[in-house]
């Protein structure tokens, strides 16, 4: 019986392990080959950190650095504007009557459910039919268009959970609506705004489909479109292996930190609850 149980456990653990190996094998290969100079992936020509050096010293093709810069500028502007627009919108929508609120929420969900190729093409048609030349501005507008709904979604729950009487109380105590907003509402919804901003930022950095339809013909490239053009030409710029590895490590560290912190917070909350309700722990 014990043996059977162990056997099962071993089987299930190794199943997960196989899946994870499959999931990580390509990434690991990229990371390993970021430490060799060879032009073609899979060809080991001796250990070297040349790719990293050239990534930081500008030895890499100018266009890649440009693409990285564009990616971050677009993501920063798009995330900032979406956060402001989305927060103001959420406060307004929350104050609307049921029917209107439902209608706006329905439209707000469209860009989230729409495949990004459709979002890209529909915005492309908008810009060409209005005769707007495509470039930086159109890419940023397009990114704001698909990021803001996520901000609204992450701010909204904070607002609905908030006790509306707090705001009324602030007004009764003589605060102007704007003071009440700044001192009462904003602090309540700040976590939602921050997670909305982060979500918008990562969505924008990661976007490919919407950017490729709205970046025009002037050669504006973000990291995604650069990689796409690069790969279609046949070879991948070797420095991209170094860049991908750096991104992976940074994300890994960030996730570990975030996870560790939330884990600790959860533990602390559990301990506090246990201290408050000793009877509960007896029942377990």
């Amino acid at each position: 019986m014990e043996d059977c149980y162990n056997m099962k456990k071993l089987l299930s653990t190794s199943y997960l392990l196989v899946l994870l190996v499959m999931l990580y094998a390509p990434i690991v290969i990229i990371a390993i080959f970021s430490f060799t100079e060879s032009k073609v992936l899979g060809n080991w020509t001796g250990f070297s950190t040349e790719l990293y050096a050239s990534l930081f010293s500008g030895g890499v093709r100018y266009s890649l650095l440009d693409a990285i810069k564009n990616t971050f500028i677009i993501a920063f502007i798009a995330a900032t504007v979406s956060t402001l627009l989305g927060t103001v919108a959420a406060i307004g929508i929350n104050d609307l009557r049921y029917g209107k609120r439902k209608a706006i929420n329905f439209v707000n969900n469209i860009p989230i459910l729409n495949p990004d190729i459709i979002t890209g093409i529909s915005l492309f048609l908008l810009f060409v039919s209005m005769g707007i030349t495509q470039g930086y501005t159109t890419v940023i507008l397009a990114h704001i268009a698909f990021c803001t709904p996520y901000v609204v979604l992450s701010v909204m729950p904070r607002l609905t959970q908030m006790n509306p009487n707090i705001y009324e109380a602030a007004l009764d105590l003589g605060a102007t609506p704007f003071q009440a907003l700044r001192r009462v509402i904003i602090p309540e919804i700040r976590p939602g705004m921050i997670s909305g901003f982060i979500l918008a930022f990562t969505l924008s950095i990661d976007d490919f489909a919407v950017t490729i339809f709205t970046n025009g013909t002037d050669g504006l490239q973000t990291l995604s479109t650069y990689i796409y053009a690069d790969a279609r030409k046949g070879g991948l710029t070797p420095e991209l292996r170094a860049l991908s590895t750096i991104i992976l490590v940074v994300v890994l560290i960030l996730l570990i930190v975030v996870n560790y912190r939330s884990h600790r917070q959860a533990r602390r909350a559990e301990q506090q609850q246990a201290a408050l309700k000793p009877k509960n722990s007896l029942r377990r």
Binding site: L16, A25, A89, I93, N94, L126, V128, Y228
Partner: protein, 262 residues
């Protein structure tokens, strides 16, 4: 002015205008362009072209096939993984789930190129096999996560009750665990099926441009200035997505009702 601003409901107005211009109007334009001939008049020409042109129609059917296969494989691989994860100690499961989601943070094109690199490395040919592997590789976490979420929130006393009433492990799974995990399966299936049917760049890279998916066809038409035809094809894709969404909503509701009966 100040009075207008101090009514909070008015704060939704800028966003309503924004949504009208950047969400509703573009979609209306897709509709308008789709039902317009090149000369500008109303016509069904684009749709009859789609039906009469075997190439586009075949690509469409082929793409649906690939998306279905990808979804089925992801479900077959993902469900056991989600189930095992839901049985682990929560702290440990959280870490492993994190490991499954982590690759999603790397740009999808980089991940796809990594798959190409893996196939090159193992000297496997790029083609249909690589395409399906790449799709499953890209979207598997989307299947695991929702199913894990549902399974993990399931009340363990339901399983205990079934066991107490004499159900064998297999019966417990078939009649209790599986039906209760239906909402997770539905959202997992949708989260895999919808992006696979609409991808375009991934297929190109994984098959060295040998296999075309419907998304690529749409992109090519738009790039070559065939906006009307491209819009019509987009509309066809939207209809498929719409049907999938409705179907998903329906079965999620059914599953919720079934759950209520339990």
């Amino acid at each position: 002015m100040l009075k207008f601003l101090s009514r909070r409901r008015n704060w939704s107005i800028p966003y309503v205008i924004f949504l009208a211009v950047f969400v509703v109007m573009p979609l209306v334009l897709v509709l308008v362009y789709a039902f317009q001939s090149e000369s500008g008049g109303f016509s069904f020409a684009n749709f009859s072209k789609f039906i009469n042109q075997p190439e586009a129609a075949n690509t469409f059917i082929y793409s649906i096939g690939i998306a279905l296969i990808t979804t089925i494989i992801s479900l077959a691989l993902g469900y056991p993984a989600a189930y095992i994860l839901s049985r682990m100690r929560p702290a440990r499961a959280r870490v492993v789930v994190m490991l499954f989601i982590l690759p999603m943070w790397i740009n999808v094109l980089v991940r796809t190129l990594a798959t190409v690199a893996l196939f090159d490395f193992l000297t496997l040919p790029l083609g249909e096999g690589a395409l399906i592997f790449g799709m499953v590789y890209n979207f598997l976490p989307f299947m695991i996560y929702p199913i894990y979420n549902v399974l993990q929130k399931m009340d363990p006393s339901l399983i205990e009750a079934a066991e107490d009433l004499g159900a064998t492990p297999r019966q417990v799974f078939r009649h209790v665990v599986f039906p209760l995990s239906m909402p997770g399966i539905v959202s997992g299936v949708m989260m895999v099926f919808m992006p696979t049917i609409s991808t375009f760049a991934i297929a190109e890279l994984l098959t060295m441009n040998n296999i075309k998916l419907f998304g690529t066809t749409i992109q090519e038409n738009i790039n070559n200035g065939m906006w009307h035809y491209g819009a019509a094809l987009s509309l066809i894709m939207l209809v498929i997505i719409g049907i999938t969404t409705l179907f998903g909503d329906q079965s999620a509701e059914d599953a919720a009702n079934d759950g209520g009966l339990l």
